[in-house]
């Protein structure tokens, strides 16, 4: 399998830049694998994250830390014992796992327990109960809506964490020294023009994905990521300062929290209207409409938080990278 080859290549390669590129490829490959496995929503996300955001962040960090991994040979004591121990650990874990899989239901069989129990209701009844065709979305947003709230909070936490780690100069007015254009892509007129057309399209597409999630693959998370990608593209072309003028970090911060609020208050409102937390059925007189409404609103919350969080993280990183360059 290609995935394995890529993974091994990553393990061998010393050039971190190449490793990052390879892991981007790895992300894409696993995304295509997900498509083959019928998991279109997941594939969508993995493509955006694994082949997009993750390598991007990695590259920016590499800009700060340097490109090459130091070979162990340069360092003291390769410690053979340690290596053997690690290998043993590896084999032990792997062996245990293989042992574990022996009793697993065969791959793809329709009568495996996983396909039987809870799943049946999701597949057979969700179109009626929730009223939207994309089962993933209905499970995500309604049956297991609380997990998704958790997921939003994870991003929120990460954004906060990144903010906490980097000094908050981000929010202070930008320094004039950064105005120097540093060549590269910013001088390409073709790119600029293309992107001027492209970025609005991307943003538009993001909105499409946002609201289309009920019918096809997509939803708040993917939309948020795409939206963030659009802004990131803009940043790369026009520079961080300009981007920060367009979207102020402090506004982002509020937006990030606001998205969580939208989600949370949906829950609280449903609680106040007599249902349980996140029970959308009570939001409108007709349960199905209520579900629709609920999912729409929370997806919006997800989208806002994710987009704001991602952009915030990106800003923080690129700010860091630039100030590093400025110092060097």
């Amino acid at each position: 399998m290609l995935l394995v080859i890529t993974a091994i290549a990553i393990a061998r390669v010393v050039d971190l830049f190449a490793a990052v590129m390879l892991s981007g490829i790895y992300g894409l490959l696993s995304a295509s694998f997900f498509v083959a496995m019928d998991a279109v929503d997941v594939a969508f996300t993995e493509a955006a994250v694994g082949a997009g955001i993750f390598p991007l962040l990695m590259l920016m960090v590499l800009g700060v830390t340097g490109r090459y991994e130091k070979l162990e040979a340069n360092l003291k004591k390769p410690a053979v014992v340690k290596k053997v121990a690690m290998l043993m650990l590896m084999l032990l874990t792997g062996g245990l796992l293989i042992f574990g899989t022996i009793d697993m239901p065969a791959f793809g069989s329709a009568d495996a327990p996983a396909q039987q129990h809870v799943n049946i209701r999701y597949i057979e009844q969700s179109p009626e109960e929730i009223g939207i065709p994309n089962m993933v979305t209905s499970v995500l947003a309604s049956y297991r809506g609380y997990d998704t709230l958790g997921e939003v909070l994870v991003i929120f936490t990460a954004a906060m964490g990144v903010l906490a780690l980097f000094s908050s100069q981000l929010f202070s007015p930008s320094k004039p020294s950064m105005q120097v254009e540093q060549g590269g892509m910013r001088d390409h007129h073709v790119l600029r023009i293309v992107s001027k057309i492209l970025i609005p399209l991307i943003l538009l597409f993001a909105f499409y994905v946002q609201f289309h999630g009920e019918y096809g693959p997509g939803g708040g998370f993917q939309a948020g990521v795409i939206f963030a990608a659009g802004i990131i593209l803009y940043t790369m072309l026009y520079g961080l300062n300009k981007a920060m003028e367009v979207i102020k970090p402090s506004v982002l911060r509020i937006l990030c929290a606001f998205g969580v609020f939208i989600y949370g208050s949906t829950g609280v409102v449903s609680m106040l209207s007599g249902g349980n937390f996140l029970d959308y059925s009570v939001l409108a007189s007709d349960p199905i409409i209520g579900q629709h409404l609920g999912i729409l609103v929370i997806e919006l919350g997800v989208g806002i938080t994710i987009a704001a969080g991602m952009i915030l993280i990106f800003f923080a990183f690129s700010h860091q990278a630039e100030s590093q360059l400025g110092e060097g």
Partner: protein
Amino acid sequence: MFYDLYNYWMVIVLMMIGLYIVISRNNLIKKLIGLNIFQTSVFIFYISVGKVDGGTAPIFSSTETLYSNPLPHVLILTAIVVGIATMALALALVVRIKRAYGTVEDAELQELDNRC
């Protein structure tokens, strides 16, 4: 039986590679890449569990009756987000470490710490 479980075994191989990178490499960034592979392999595992032969993507349509299991997809959507969030935080840490120590090699870091 070999074919039945082939997918899972590939997952295990991937996992081991990822784990190996994490614990054997000195470079903090390389470790993170390994961690990413490790996590992704678990995602693949979940999705494999959800696959049904002959099924289609779990989006309701009047022509299809057999769908793959949507639940693992949902779980993995969440897990991917968690993964990227972790990565973002970890990378932020790496940047800070680089600025504080001037290196991102584990062994060098240890030395620096021992010296002071």
